[in-house]
Amino acid sequence: MATTVLIVDDHPGFRATARALLEAEGFDVIGEAETAVQALQAARELQPDIVLLDVQLPDLDGFEVAERLTVNGTGPTVVITSSRDRTDFGPLVSRSGARAFIPKGELSGQAIAVLLETPV
């Protein structure tokens, strides 16, 4: 059974490209969200294995969303992504409960697969 993914980003261009990329590598993209509110709702309804979460959203930022998704230690694996570099955010990524950070330019199914195989 393919790993399910929820893509959260306010740029439709990126969502489309990411979906194409991940699906081409065997992931099952089960949903997309533009805002934090939509993201939280979709995550609850769709129960994806992975949430690919952009930092910059119109309402809340990605870290806040990550915290809420992973609040009980349950929930999906959150992968934060951004067109900025990881160093721009410092410790915010690890504190938010997200599993990892992947710069948008380096996004690939391969990269996510490696992450999932790495022990927490």
């Binding site: 990329l21 081409a24 067109s83 948008k104 330019g105 690939s108």
Partner: protein
């Protein structure tokens, strides 16, 4: 002793003489003459051992006995007697001319005395060479000096000698009269007896000399008279001494007078009276000033004690109290001055305090006179008691001020202020200040008064005009306020510049992030997707590559646009006019550009001008609804003048929105200024003047 011996010899000679006509009478008279001179000479000598007058008088007496030798019956003593018998007269002339100081002074006096001595010595010896006494005097012995018997020569020589004698006598009388006339009152009193009898004697001597040539018979009588007058001179001198002794009694009267002296200055009057010197002055010693002062508190320097005025210091209780400034002649009897001073010591000591007080008052007065401020003495009721200052500084004319009150002369509010100050001063007995304004000659002036108690129920008010100071203070305050405003404005402007910078950076970051960066991310992902499709689905891969190329082109264009927004490259490379060209080309309306500049403006000025124009054109495009605009950049008086005008709707508010405010800050940071004229319906005109600096 010499005198007694000489007297005995003289008496023996006279009484043993076989050629004297009046032996007893002549002897007695000569003795009287000689002894009166010897006695008074000795008295003078004892009193003033350093004064040669006493010696000279004694010498006159002693040499008088030489004349008695002519009564001798032997040739040698007889010759000495007739030759040197007149030496006493010469010494007498010397003594008279040396009176009272004991020494000779001027050239005429020296000449006169010298001639007198020459006549009675050299002259007489020469005359004796030709003189044969026997024809006149049968019993006389022979003249031991006689060389030739030639009475004609003798007569001629006698005439010459007598003539010279008259000259000597005349000169002596002349000197004595002159000395008398030059003498001060006390000196005259001291000189009078001796000068008078001396002058009379001299006159008679001259008469005698003339008569001896003309009427020898008459001369005989005159010679007796002359002798009497001659003898009276030493008596006159003694009389003068007695008078001075009487003056000592005046000291006794002085003590009594001093006991009565009350008013300042009476001590001086009593001293002047007692010492007989109306010109007498008293100088009081003030130890703090280490100088002498008079009763009015003025400095009174002492004379150098070598001229007509003399100072005698008075001490009381071992301390210097005063100095008596008196005529030199009082030194005839210095003990008298000292006795008078000693008697007056206590009285002078108390008057010294008056002098000290006067001096201190005088100094205080001088101090007040030196102060440029106004000075009033005011009574408790506000009455003017005294005023000092310039007429233009007071509300009423100074002549009418005294006797009036502050309520008569000053506005009610000022008068009540001053009255309060007077009251406070009198109550607290401490310095009080008061400030008030007065309009004098149409000018508003500010005064500050300081009041101190200056007597029972009166204050001294010293008033200073500080209009000018107040004006300067106001000016300074205005300057400070302006500076504060400027600093505040500068602070605000700085903050705005910093904020504008932050906003600008945020905008750039946002633009980069949302624009070029997103597109490049997309390109990157598209390429990765295409890479996966190259083998399996080359058609899709080619399609993806085409999308990526388009995205890249758009990203590049966005980056160029962004860079232009940060700083137009053409501006820094080519200057203002070409940069304006690209600006105008992108503008959505026709813009007329006029840049009459020779050469480029300084970098910061050029950039400021560019942004002013850029912002203004953007505003025109956004809000002005204009059909055309114009841009002009020129140089005037060392400043760049930038003008952007349009024919739009106007009504722009430079204080609203950050665009124009930011431009103004940019221009003001270069010491320039930005003006916006925007009347509704008349278009908008933005004008910036930016100094080009040095």
């Amino acid at each position: 002793m010499a005198g007694v011996a000489f007297s005995a010899i003289a008496l023996w000679l006279v009484f043993s003489s076989n050629h004297d006509t009046h032996p007893a009478f002549g002897a007695a008279l000569n003795l009287v003459v000689a002894w009166s001179f010897i006695a008074s000479g000795l008295v003078a000598w004892t009193r003033r051992p350093d004064n040669r007058f006493g010696v000279l008088m004694t010498a006159v007496g002693l040499t008088w006995f030489i004349g008695a030798l002519s009564e001798s019956n032997d040739s040698i003593p007889y010759t000495v007697g007739i030759v040197l018998g007149l030496v006493g007269f010469a010494i007498f002339v010397h003594a008279l001319l040396a009176f009272p100081r004991g020494y000779l002074e001027t050239r005429i006096v020296y000449l006169t005395v010298g001639t007198a001595y020459a006549i009675v010595t050299v002259g007489q010896v020469v005359a004796a060479l030709f003189y044969d006494p026997t024809p006149d005097c049968r019993n006389c012995p022979a003249n031991a000096l006689q060389v030739v018997d030639h009475n004609g020569v003798t007569t001629a020589l006698n005439a010459v000698l007598s003539g010279l004698g008259v000259l000597v006598v005349g000169a002596t009388v002349f000197v004595l009269v002159r000395r008398w006339r030059a003498a001060s009152t006390p000196l005259r009193r001291a000189l009078a007896p001796v000068l008078a009898t001396g002058a009379v004697t001299m006159f008679l001597l001259a008469l005698l000399l003339v008569l001896e040539l003309a009427h020898p018979g008459a001369a005989n009588v005159v010679s007796w008279v002359t002798l009497f007058a001659f003898a009276s001179v030493p008596l006159a001198f003694l009389a003068g001494l007695v008078r001075s002794r009487l003056a000592r009694e005046a000291v006794g009267r002085l003590v009594v007078a001093l006991g009565r002296a009350r008013a300042p200055g009476e001590v001086r009057d009593a001293l002047a009276d007692a010492l007989g010197d109306p010109s007498l002055e008293v100088a009081y010693w003030l130890p703090e000033q280490r100088e002498f002062f008079d009763l009015h508190g003025r400095r009174l320097p002492l004379p150098a004690n070598d001229g007509a005025r003399w100072a005698t210091i008075v001490e009381w209780d071992g301390k210097r109290v005063a100095a008596i400034l008196h005529d030199h002649s009082l030194l005839e009897d210095p003990a008298l001055v000292e006795a008078a001073g000693a008697a007056a010591g206590l009285a002078l000591e108390s008057e010294r305090r008056v002098a000290a007080l006067a001096e201190s008052e005088w100094r205080n007065r001088a101090l007040l006179d030196a102060i440029p401020d106004l000075m009033f003495r005011l009574s408790r009721a506000g009455e003017y008691l005294e005023f000092k200052g310039r007429a233009e500084d007071v509300a009423a004319s100074p002549e009418t001020l005294i006797g009036r009150t502050i309520f008569d002369t000053l506005p009610a509010d000022v008068a009540s202020l001053l009255a309060g100050c007077i009251e406070r001063t009198l109550e607290s007995k401490e310095l009080q200040r008061v400030e008030y304004d007065l309009t004098l000659d149409g000018r508003r002036r500010s005064f500050e008064g300081r009041a101190v108690v200056s007597g029972p129920d009166e204050v001294l008010l010293i008033v200073r005009d500080f209009t000018e100071r107040r004006r300067q203070e106001a000016e300074l305050e205005a300057l400070h306020a302006e500076l504060r405003d400027r600093l505040e404005e500068l602070g605000a402007s700085r903050q705005r510049i910093v904020e504008a910078g932050d906003v600008e950076r945020r905008r750039l970051e946002r633009n980069l992030h949302d624009g070029a960066q997103q597109r490049l991310v997309a390109v990157s992902l598209t390429l990765r997707l295409a890479e996966g499709k190259v083998a399996t689905d080359p058609g899709v891969a080619r399609q993806l590559l085409g999308t990526a190329t388009e995205e890249l082109a758009i990203a590049l264009e966005e980056l160029r646009e962004l860079a232009r927004g940060i700083h137009p490259g053409v501006l820094s490379e080519r200057g203002l006019e070409p940069a304006l060209g690209t600006l105008v080309a992108r503008a959505p309306l026709p813009v007329e550009v006029d840049v009459p500049l020779d050469g480029r403006l300084p970098g910061p000025v050029e950039a400021a001008a560019y942004y002013v124009i850029s912002e203004a054109l953007t505003n025109i495009a956004k809000y002005a609804e204009a059909s055309a605009a114009s841009v002009r950049v020129s140089r005037r008086n060392g400043a760049a003048v930038v003008e952007v005008a349009d024919d739009g709707i106007g009504g722009a508010d430079p204080n609203r929105g950050t665009g124009l405010r930011g431009l103004a800050d940019r221009v003001e940071a270069l010491d320039g200024r930005l003006e916006v004229q925007s009347v509704p319906g008349q278009g908008t005109r933005v004008r910036a003047v930016i100094p080009c600096g040095s």
